[in-house]
Symmetry: C2
Subunit: 227 residues, 2 copies
DNA sequence: CAGTGTGAACCTTTTCACAGCA
DNA sequence: TGCTGTGAAAAGGTTCACACTG
Protein backbone atom coordinates (compact mmCIF):
# COMPACT_ATOMS: atom_id res chain seq x y z
CA UNK A 1 0.00 0.00 0.00
CA UNK A 2 2.78 2.44 -0.81
CA UNK A 3 1.23 5.89 -1.20
CA UNK A 4 2.66 7.63 -4.23
CA UNK A 5 3.82 11.20 -3.84
CA UNK A 6 1.55 13.86 -5.35
CA UNK A 7 2.97 15.11 -8.69
CA UNK A 8 4.67 18.48 -8.48
CA UNK A 9 2.30 20.00 -11.02
CA UNK A 10 -0.67 19.00 -8.89
CA UNK A 11 0.87 20.45 -5.74
CA UNK A 12 1.29 23.72 -7.59
CA UNK A 13 -2.43 23.81 -8.31
CA UNK A 14 -3.75 22.87 -4.89
CA UNK A 15 -3.34 26.43 -3.58
CA UNK A 16 -5.32 27.69 -6.57
CA UNK A 17 -8.14 25.26 -5.86
CA UNK A 18 -8.04 26.23 -2.20
CA UNK A 19 -8.51 29.89 -3.03
CA UNK A 20 -11.30 29.08 -5.48
CA UNK A 21 -12.99 26.85 -2.92
CA UNK A 22 -12.90 29.56 -0.26
CA UNK A 23 -14.51 31.97 -2.73
CA UNK A 24 -17.15 29.38 -3.56
CA UNK A 25 -17.83 28.73 0.11
CA UNK A 26 -18.25 32.47 0.70
CA UNK A 27 -20.69 32.46 -2.18
CA UNK A 28 -22.83 30.12 -0.14
CA UNK A 29 -22.49 26.90 -2.12
CA UNK A 30 -22.10 23.78 -0.02
CA UNK A 31 -21.31 21.42 -2.87
CA UNK A 32 -19.25 21.88 -6.03
CA UNK A 33 -18.67 19.91 -9.22
CA UNK A 34 -15.27 19.51 -10.85
CA UNK A 35 -16.66 21.52 -13.74
CA UNK A 36 -17.55 24.52 -11.56
CA UNK A 37 -14.34 24.35 -9.58
CA UNK A 38 -12.36 24.11 -12.80
CA UNK A 39 -13.91 27.28 -14.10
CA UNK A 40 -13.21 29.15 -10.87
CA UNK A 41 -9.60 27.97 -10.94
CA UNK A 42 -9.02 28.59 -14.63
CA UNK A 43 -8.24 24.99 -15.62
CA UNK A 44 -10.25 22.11 -17.11
CA UNK A 45 -12.35 19.67 -15.17
CA UNK A 46 -10.37 16.52 -15.96
CA UNK A 47 -7.35 18.14 -14.36
CA UNK A 48 -9.30 19.05 -11.27
CA UNK A 49 -10.56 15.50 -10.86
CA UNK A 50 -7.15 13.97 -11.37
CA UNK A 51 -5.49 16.41 -9.00
CA UNK A 52 -8.09 15.88 -6.28
CA UNK A 53 -7.95 12.12 -6.71
CA UNK A 54 -4.39 12.25 -5.37
CA UNK A 55 -5.77 13.39 -2.02
CA UNK A 56 -8.23 10.51 -1.86
CA UNK A 57 -11.81 9.88 -2.96
CA UNK A 58 -13.55 12.86 -1.47
CA UNK A 59 -16.18 13.37 -4.16
CA UNK A 60 -19.64 11.89 -4.50
CA UNK A 61 -20.59 10.54 -7.93
CA UNK A 62 -23.54 12.31 -9.42
CA UNK A 63 -23.19 15.14 -6.90
CA UNK A 64 -19.70 16.62 -6.65
CA UNK A 65 -17.49 17.57 -3.72
CA UNK A 66 -18.53 18.87 -0.33
CA UNK A 67 -16.98 22.34 -0.27
CA UNK A 68 -16.18 22.60 3.44
CA UNK A 69 -14.77 19.10 3.62
CA UNK A 70 -12.65 19.58 0.52
CA UNK A 71 -11.25 22.86 1.87
CA UNK A 72 -10.28 21.00 5.01
CA UNK A 73 -8.59 18.22 3.07
CA UNK A 74 -6.65 20.56 0.80
CA UNK A 75 -5.53 22.63 3.81
CA UNK A 76 -4.40 19.49 5.57
CA UNK A 77 -2.52 18.27 2.53
CA UNK A 78 -0.73 21.60 2.14
CA UNK A 79 0.14 21.71 5.82
CA UNK A 80 -1.94 24.80 6.44
CA UNK A 81 -3.64 23.55 9.58
CA UNK A 82 -0.97 25.53 11.40
CA UNK A 83 0.16 29.11 10.74
CA UNK A 84 3.75 29.09 9.52
CA UNK A 85 6.01 31.76 11.00
CA UNK A 86 8.18 33.37 8.33
CA UNK A 87 11.10 35.77 8.37
CA UNK A 88 11.66 38.45 5.74
CA UNK A 89 15.26 39.40 5.06
CA UNK A 90 15.70 42.81 3.44
CA UNK A 91 13.27 45.53 4.44
CA UNK A 92 13.43 47.71 1.32
CA UNK A 93 10.47 48.61 -0.88
CA UNK A 94 9.45 45.04 -1.54
CA UNK A 95 10.19 43.78 1.97
CA UNK A 96 7.99 46.52 3.37
CA UNK A 97 5.20 45.73 0.96
CA UNK A 98 5.31 42.05 1.90
CA UNK A 99 5.48 42.81 5.61
CA UNK A 100 2.31 44.86 5.29
CA UNK A 101 0.53 42.37 3.04
CA UNK A 102 -2.57 41.22 4.88
CA UNK A 103 -3.09 38.25 2.59
CA UNK A 104 -0.41 36.19 4.29
CA UNK A 105 -2.17 35.90 7.62
CA UNK A 106 -5.42 34.99 5.87
CA UNK A 107 -3.70 32.21 4.00
CA UNK A 108 -1.61 30.36 6.51
CA UNK A 109 1.38 32.54 7.35
CA UNK A 110 2.55 34.96 10.01
CA UNK A 111 5.39 37.44 9.68
CA UNK A 112 7.43 36.53 12.74
CA UNK A 113 10.65 38.36 11.96
CA UNK A 114 12.10 41.20 9.91
CA UNK A 115 15.81 41.45 9.39
CA UNK A 116 18.09 43.82 7.51
CA UNK A 117 21.82 44.32 7.05
CA UNK A 118 21.46 48.11 7.21
CA UNK A 119 21.82 49.35 10.81
CA UNK A 120 19.83 52.47 9.91
CA UNK A 121 16.79 50.25 9.50
CA UNK A 122 17.29 48.24 12.69
CA UNK A 123 14.74 49.21 15.33
CA UNK A 124 12.20 50.42 12.81
CA UNK A 125 8.69 49.23 13.55
CA UNK A 126 6.72 47.60 10.71
CA UNK A 127 3.30 46.55 11.85
CA UNK A 128 3.87 44.77 15.12
CA UNK A 129 7.42 43.70 14.28
CA UNK A 130 10.69 45.47 15.03
CA UNK A 131 13.41 45.18 12.40
CA UNK A 132 16.48 43.42 13.73
CA UNK A 133 19.98 43.17 12.37
CA UNK A 134 21.00 40.41 9.99
CA UNK A 135 23.50 39.08 12.53
CA UNK A 136 20.58 38.29 14.85
CA UNK A 137 18.98 36.12 12.18
CA UNK A 138 19.77 32.80 13.85
CA UNK A 139 18.34 34.08 17.13
CA UNK A 140 15.13 35.26 15.47
CA UNK A 141 14.76 31.96 13.64
CA UNK A 142 15.30 30.03 16.81
CA UNK A 143 13.08 32.18 19.06
CA UNK A 144 10.18 32.08 16.62
CA UNK A 145 10.67 28.52 15.32
CA UNK A 146 10.85 29.84 11.79
CA UNK A 147 11.04 27.34 8.95
CA UNK A 148 10.50 29.61 5.95
CA UNK A 149 12.62 32.59 4.91
CA UNK A 150 11.87 35.24 2.29
CA UNK A 151 14.76 37.02 0.59
CA UNK A 152 14.05 40.60 -0.52
CA UNK A 153 17.61 41.89 -0.80
CA UNK A 154 19.50 43.06 -3.90
CA UNK A 155 20.90 40.24 -6.05
CA UNK A 156 24.45 40.68 -4.78
CA UNK A 157 23.48 39.92 -1.17
CA UNK A 158 21.09 37.05 -1.90
CA UNK A 159 23.53 34.14 -1.76
CA UNK A 160 25.03 35.31 1.53
CA UNK A 161 21.59 35.67 3.03
CA UNK A 162 20.60 32.23 1.78
CA UNK A 163 23.69 30.76 3.42
CA UNK A 164 22.83 32.54 6.68
CA UNK A 165 19.24 31.26 6.52
CA UNK A 166 20.40 27.70 5.94
CA UNK A 167 22.96 28.00 8.76
CA UNK A 168 20.14 29.18 11.02
CA UNK A 169 18.15 26.05 10.25
CA UNK A 170 15.72 27.39 7.64
CA UNK A 171 14.94 24.75 5.02
CA UNK A 172 12.53 26.60 2.74
CA UNK A 173 13.32 29.84 0.96
CA UNK A 174 11.29 32.15 -1.23
CA UNK A 175 13.69 34.26 -3.25
CA UNK A 176 12.68 37.60 -4.77
CA UNK A 177 16.24 38.62 -5.59
CA UNK A 178 17.15 38.18 -9.26
CA UNK A 179 19.91 35.67 -8.54
CA UNK A 180 20.31 31.90 -8.73
CA UNK A 181 20.87 30.50 -5.24
CA UNK A 182 22.84 27.39 -4.46
CA UNK A 183 21.76 25.57 -1.35
CA UNK A 184 22.43 22.13 0.13
CA UNK A 185 20.19 19.20 -0.77
CA UNK A 186 17.11 19.14 1.42
CA UNK A 187 16.57 22.90 1.25
CA UNK A 188 13.74 24.03 -1.03
CA UNK A 189 13.98 27.26 -2.98
CA UNK A 190 11.29 28.94 -5.00
CA UNK A 191 12.07 32.01 -7.03
CA UNK A 192 9.90 34.93 -8.04
CA UNK A 193 11.50 37.32 -10.49
CA UNK A 194 9.29 40.23 -11.46
CA UNK A 195 11.39 41.33 -14.43
CA UNK A 196 11.47 37.78 -15.80
CA UNK A 197 7.69 37.58 -15.79
CA UNK A 198 7.55 40.80 -17.77
CA UNK A 199 10.20 39.55 -20.18
CA UNK A 200 8.16 36.45 -20.90
CA UNK A 201 5.13 38.63 -21.58
CA UNK A 202 7.28 40.82 -23.83
CA UNK A 203 8.22 37.77 -25.90
CA UNK A 204 4.62 36.84 -26.62
CA UNK A 205 3.61 40.48 -27.04
CA UNK A 206 6.29 40.93 -29.66
CA UNK A 207 5.15 37.82 -31.44
CA UNK A 208 1.57 39.09 -31.47
CA UNK A 209 2.78 42.37 -32.94
CA UNK A 210 4.68 40.49 -35.63
CA UNK A 211 1.62 38.43 -36.42
CA UNK A 212 -0.64 41.48 -36.62
CA UNK A 213 1.92 43.02 -38.92
CA UNK A 214 1.83 40.08 -41.29
CA UNK A 215 -1.97 40.15 -41.27
CA UNK A 216 -2.01 43.83 -42.04
CA UNK A 217 0.16 43.22 -45.08
CA UNK A 218 -2.29 40.60 -46.25
CA UNK A 219 0.08 37.71 -46.64
CA UNK A 220 -1.10 34.15 -47.17
CA UNK A 221 -2.48 32.19 -44.24
CA UNK A 222 0.28 29.62 -44.69
CA UNK A 223 2.79 32.31 -43.78
CA UNK A 224 0.82 33.37 -40.74
CA UNK A 225 1.18 30.04 -39.05
CA UNK A 226 4.94 30.13 -39.02
CA UNK A 227 5.22 33.36 -37.01
CA UNK B 1 11.13 26.18 -44.28
CA UNK B 2 8.42 26.60 -41.66
CA UNK B 3 10.07 27.90 -38.50
CA UNK B 4 8.73 26.09 -35.48
CA UNK B 5 7.71 28.14 -32.48
CA UNK B 6 10.04 28.02 -29.49
CA UNK B 7 8.61 25.70 -26.81
CA UNK B 8 7.01 27.55 -23.92
CA UNK B 9 9.33 25.96 -21.40
CA UNK B 10 12.33 27.27 -23.30
CA UNK B 11 10.88 30.78 -23.52
CA UNK B 12 10.52 30.73 -19.75
CA UNK B 13 14.23 30.07 -19.36
CA UNK B 14 15.57 32.59 -21.86
CA UNK B 15 15.31 35.46 -19.34
CA UNK B 16 17.25 33.37 -16.84
CA UNK B 17 20.00 32.76 -19.35
CA UNK B 18 20.00 36.42 -20.25
CA UNK B 19 20.57 37.43 -16.65
CA UNK B 20 23.28 34.83 -16.20
CA UNK B 21 24.96 35.95 -19.42
CA UNK B 22 24.99 39.59 -18.32
CA UNK B 23 26.61 38.53 -15.03
CA UNK B 24 29.16 36.48 -16.95
CA UNK B 25 29.90 39.37 -19.29
CA UNK B 26 30.42 41.66 -16.30
CA UNK B 27 32.82 39.06 -14.92
CA UNK B 28 34.94 39.68 -18.01
CA UNK B 29 34.48 36.41 -19.88
CA UNK B 30 34.04 36.77 -23.62
CA UNK B 31 33.13 33.15 -24.31
CA UNK B 32 31.04 30.67 -22.36
CA UNK B 33 30.33 26.92 -22.57
CA UNK B 34 26.89 25.41 -22.11
CA UNK B 35 28.27 23.80 -18.96
CA UNK B 36 29.28 27.12 -17.38
CA UNK B 37 26.11 28.89 -18.45
CA UNK B 38 24.05 26.00 -17.11
CA UNK B 39 25.69 26.33 -13.70
CA UNK B 40 25.08 30.08 -13.61
CA UNK B 41 21.44 29.56 -14.56
CA UNK B 42 20.83 26.63 -12.24
CA UNK B 43 19.94 24.08 -14.90
CA UNK B 44 21.81 21.32 -16.75
CA UNK B 45 23.90 21.79 -19.84
CA UNK B 46 21.82 19.65 -22.21
CA UNK B 47 18.86 21.89 -21.51
CA UNK B 48 20.91 25.00 -22.23
CA UNK B 49 22.07 23.62 -25.55
CA UNK B 50 18.61 22.52 -26.61
CA UNK B 51 17.07 25.84 -25.58
CA UNK B 52 19.69 27.89 -27.38
CA UNK B 53 19.46 25.71 -30.47
CA UNK B 54 15.93 27.06 -30.96
CA UNK B 55 17.40 30.50 -31.59
CA UNK B 56 19.79 29.22 -34.22
CA UNK B 57 23.33 27.84 -34.31
CA UNK B 58 25.17 30.52 -32.41
CA UNK B 59 27.78 28.34 -30.72
CA UNK B 60 31.18 27.21 -31.88
CA UNK B 61 32.02 23.52 -31.41
CA UNK B 62 34.99 22.98 -29.22
CA UNK B 63 34.76 26.56 -27.92
CA UNK B 64 31.32 27.59 -26.69
CA UNK B 65 29.20 30.67 -27.23
CA UNK B 66 30.33 34.25 -27.74
CA UNK B 67 28.87 36.01 -24.70
CA UNK B 68 28.15 39.41 -26.23
CA UNK B 69 26.66 37.93 -29.37
CA UNK B 70 24.49 35.50 -27.44
CA UNK B 71 23.21 38.30 -25.19
CA UNK B 72 22.24 40.20 -28.31
CA UNK B 73 20.44 37.21 -29.81
CA UNK B 74 18.52 36.39 -26.65
CA UNK B 75 17.50 40.05 -26.24
CA UNK B 76 16.33 40.13 -29.83
CA UNK B 77 14.36 36.92 -29.42
CA UNK B 78 12.65 38.22 -26.28
CA UNK B 79 11.85 41.51 -27.94
CA UNK B 80 14.02 43.51 -25.55
CA UNK B 81 15.72 45.62 -28.19
CA UNK B 82 13.14 48.23 -27.27
CA UNK B 83 12.11 49.39 -23.80
CA UNK B 84 8.49 48.40 -23.16
CA UNK B 85 6.34 51.03 -21.50
CA UNK B 86 4.16 49.51 -18.77
CA UNK B 87 1.30 50.78 -16.64
CA UNK B 88 0.79 49.78 -13.02
CA UNK B 89 -2.79 49.73 -11.80
CA UNK B 90 -3.16 49.93 -8.03
CA UNK B 91 -0.65 52.05 -6.15
CA UNK B 92 -0.79 50.38 -2.74
CA UNK B 93 2.15 48.80 -0.95
CA UNK B 94 3.06 46.48 -3.78
CA UNK B 95 2.35 48.97 -6.56
CA UNK B 96 4.63 51.47 -4.85
CA UNK B 97 7.36 48.90 -4.44
CA UNK B 98 7.18 47.96 -8.10
CA UNK B 99 7.09 51.58 -9.23
CA UNK B 100 10.30 52.19 -7.31
CA UNK B 101 11.98 48.98 -8.44
CA UNK B 102 15.06 49.97 -10.39
CA UNK B 103 15.48 46.51 -11.89
CA UNK B 104 12.78 47.09 -14.49
CA UNK B 105 14.59 49.83 -16.35
CA UNK B 106 17.75 47.75 -16.38
CA UNK B 107 15.92 44.84 -17.90
CA UNK B 108 13.84 46.23 -20.69
CA UNK B 109 10.93 48.08 -19.13
CA UNK B 110 9.87 51.59 -18.27
CA UNK B 111 7.10 52.58 -15.89
CA UNK B 112 5.08 54.87 -18.12
CA UNK B 113 1.91 55.15 -16.09
CA UNK B 114 0.50 54.75 -12.59
CA UNK B 115 -3.21 54.52 -12.04
CA UNK B 116 -5.46 54.06 -9.02
CA UNK B 117 -9.19 54.02 -8.33
CA UNK B 118 -8.71 55.96 -5.08
CA UNK B 119 -8.98 59.70 -5.70
CA UNK B 120 -6.93 60.35 -2.58
CA UNK B 121 -3.95 58.85 -4.39
CA UNK B 122 -4.44 60.69 -7.66
CA UNK B 123 -1.83 63.41 -8.10
CA UNK B 124 0.69 61.68 -5.87
CA UNK B 125 4.18 61.71 -7.33
CA UNK B 126 6.05 58.37 -7.41
CA UNK B 127 9.46 58.76 -8.95
CA UNK B 128 8.91 60.80 -12.06
CA UNK B 129 5.31 59.66 -12.55
CA UNK B 130 2.12 61.25 -11.31
CA UNK B 131 -0.66 58.89 -10.26
CA UNK B 132 -3.75 59.28 -12.41
CA UNK B 133 -7.28 58.08 -11.92
CA UNK B 134 -8.41 54.70 -13.19
CA UNK B 135 -10.89 56.36 -15.52
CA UNK B 136 -7.97 57.94 -17.38
CA UNK B 137 -6.48 54.52 -18.03
CA UNK B 138 -7.32 54.41 -21.73
CA UNK B 139 -5.81 57.87 -22.20
CA UNK B 140 -2.61 56.89 -20.42
CA UNK B 141 -2.34 53.69 -22.44
CA UNK B 142 -2.89 55.59 -25.65
CA UNK B 143 -0.57 58.50 -24.86
CA UNK B 144 2.27 56.23 -23.83
CA UNK B 145 1.67 53.42 -26.35
CA UNK B 146 1.46 50.95 -23.50
CA UNK B 147 1.15 47.27 -24.33
CA UNK B 148 1.71 45.69 -20.90
CA UNK B 149 -0.34 46.26 -17.75
CA UNK B 150 0.44 45.21 -14.19
CA UNK B 151 -2.44 44.66 -11.77
CA UNK B 152 -1.64 45.36 -8.10
CA UNK B 153 -5.17 45.84 -6.77
CA UNK B 154 -7.07 43.73 -4.24
CA UNK B 155 -8.60 40.53 -5.66
CA UNK B 156 -12.10 41.96 -5.82
CA UNK B 157 -11.10 44.74 -8.23
CA UNK B 158 -8.80 42.66 -10.44
CA UNK B 159 -11.32 41.46 -13.03
CA UNK B 160 -12.73 44.93 -13.56
CA UNK B 161 -9.25 46.34 -14.00
CA UNK B 162 -8.38 43.56 -16.43
CA UNK B 163 -11.49 44.40 -18.47
CA UNK B 164 -10.52 48.06 -18.47
CA UNK B 165 -6.99 47.22 -19.58
CA UNK B 166 -8.24 45.05 -22.40
CA UNK B 167 -10.74 47.73 -23.45
CA UNK B 168 -7.85 50.20 -23.54
CA UNK B 169 -5.97 47.99 -25.95
CA UNK B 170 -3.54 46.26 -23.58
CA UNK B 171 -2.89 42.68 -24.66
CA UNK B 172 -0.46 41.50 -21.97
CA UNK B 173 -1.20 41.50 -18.26
CA UNK B 174 0.87 40.63 -15.22
CA UNK B 175 -1.52 39.94 -12.37
CA UNK B 176 -0.44 40.18 -8.72
CA UNK B 177 -3.97 40.03 -7.39
CA UNK B 178 -4.96 36.63 -6.00
CA UNK B 179 -7.77 36.13 -8.49
CA UNK B 180 -8.29 34.18 -11.71
CA UNK B 181 -8.82 36.57 -14.60
CA UNK B 182 -10.86 35.82 -17.66
CA UNK B 183 -9.80 37.67 -20.77
CA UNK B 184 -10.55 37.34 -24.48
CA UNK B 185 -8.41 35.09 -26.67
CA UNK B 186 -5.28 36.88 -27.80
CA UNK B 187 -4.64 38.51 -24.44
CA UNK B 188 -1.80 36.98 -22.40
CA UNK B 189 -1.99 36.83 -18.64
CA UNK B 190 0.72 35.77 -16.23
CA UNK B 191 -0.02 35.49 -12.55
CA UNK B 192 2.23 35.95 -9.55
CA UNK B 193 0.67 34.99 -6.25
CA UNK B 194 2.92 35.47 -3.26
CA UNK B 195 0.81 33.46 -0.84
CA UNK B 196 0.61 30.56 -3.29
CA UNK B 197 4.38 30.38 -3.54
CA UNK B 198 4.57 30.17 0.24
CA UNK B 199 1.85 27.53 0.34
CA UNK B 200 3.80 25.37 -2.07
CA UNK B 201 6.88 25.74 0.13
CA UNK B 202 4.75 24.85 3.15
CA UNK B 203 3.68 21.62 1.49
CA UNK B 204 7.25 20.44 0.98
CA UNK B 205 8.35 21.78 4.35
CA UNK B 206 5.64 19.79 6.04
CA UNK B 207 6.64 16.70 4.12
CA UNK B 208 10.25 17.16 5.21
CA UNK B 209 9.11 17.48 8.81
CA UNK B 210 7.05 14.31 8.51
CA UNK B 211 10.00 12.48 7.02
CA UNK B 212 12.36 13.66 9.75
CA UNK B 213 9.80 12.52 12.27
CA UNK B 214 9.66 9.02 10.85
CA UNK B 215 13.44 8.87 10.80
CA UNK B 216 13.64 9.95 14.41
CA UNK B 217 11.29 7.15 15.39
CA UNK B 218 13.48 4.70 13.54
CA UNK B 219 10.85 3.13 11.35
CA UNK B 220 11.69 0.84 8.44
CA UNK B 221 13.00 2.33 5.20
CA UNK B 222 10.01 0.95 3.32
CA UNK B 223 7.80 3.25 5.36
CA UNK B 224 10.00 6.25 4.67
CA UNK B 225 9.42 6.16 0.95
CA UNK B 226 5.69 6.50 1.22
CA UNK B 227 5.76 9.86 3.02
C1' DC C 1 -28.52 10.11 -14.79
C1' DA C 2 -25.10 13.43 -13.38
C1' DG C 3 -20.65 13.55 -12.22
C1' DT C 4 -16.54 11.12 -10.10
C1' DG C 5 -12.43 8.35 -10.62
C1' DT C 6 -9.17 6.42 -13.72
C1' DG C 7 -6.88 3.57 -17.30
C1' DA C 8 -5.17 4.65 -21.87
C1' DA C 9 -3.74 7.86 -25.48
C1' DC C 10 -1.51 11.82 -26.40
C1' DC C 11 1.53 15.63 -26.04
C1' DT C 12 5.38 18.20 -23.91
C1' DT C 13 9.63 18.37 -21.67
C1' DT C 14 13.83 16.48 -20.03
C1' DT C 15 17.70 13.68 -20.37
C1' DC C 16 20.88 10.73 -22.77
C1' DA C 17 24.42 9.85 -25.80
C1' DC C 18 27.06 10.62 -29.62
C1' DA C 19 28.01 12.19 -34.45
C1' DG C 20 30.26 15.98 -36.33
C1' DC C 21 32.72 20.20 -36.47
C1' DA C 22 36.22 24.01 -35.18
C1' DT D 1 40.50 17.23 -28.52
C1' DG D 2 36.43 19.73 -26.55
C1' DC D 3 32.08 21.18 -26.96
C1' DT D 4 27.98 22.03 -29.83
C1' DG D 5 23.75 20.43 -31.95
C1' DT D 6 20.41 16.92 -32.19
C1' DG D 7 18.05 12.47 -32.93
C1' DA D 8 16.15 9.00 -29.86
C1' DA D 9 14.66 7.36 -25.36
C1' DA D 10 12.60 8.32 -21.01
C1' DA D 11 9.90 10.85 -17.90
C1' DG D 12 6.29 13.79 -16.77
C1' DG D 13 1.98 16.04 -17.50
C1' DT D 14 -2.54 16.64 -19.88
C1' DT D 15 -6.63 15.21 -22.07
C1' DC D 16 -9.89 11.74 -23.49
C1' DA D 17 -13.51 8.84 -22.78
C1' DC D 18 -16.13 5.82 -20.23
C1' DA D 19 -17.14 2.33 -16.52
C1' DC D 20 -19.14 2.91 -12.38
C1' DT D 21 -21.83 4.68 -8.47
C1' DG D 22 -24.69 7.45 -5.23
Amino acid sequence: MTERPIPEASVGRLPIYLRALVDIAEGGATTVSSETLAEAAGVNSAKVRKDLSHLGSYGTRGVGYDVAYLIHQVRRELGLTQHWPIVIVGVGNLGHALANYRGFSERGFRIAGLVDADRAKVGEQVGSITVRHLEDLATVVWEQSIAIGVICTPAAEAQGVADALVASGVRSILNFAPAVLSVPAGVSVRKVDLAIELQILAFYEQRKAALADVKRRGRAVADLTKV
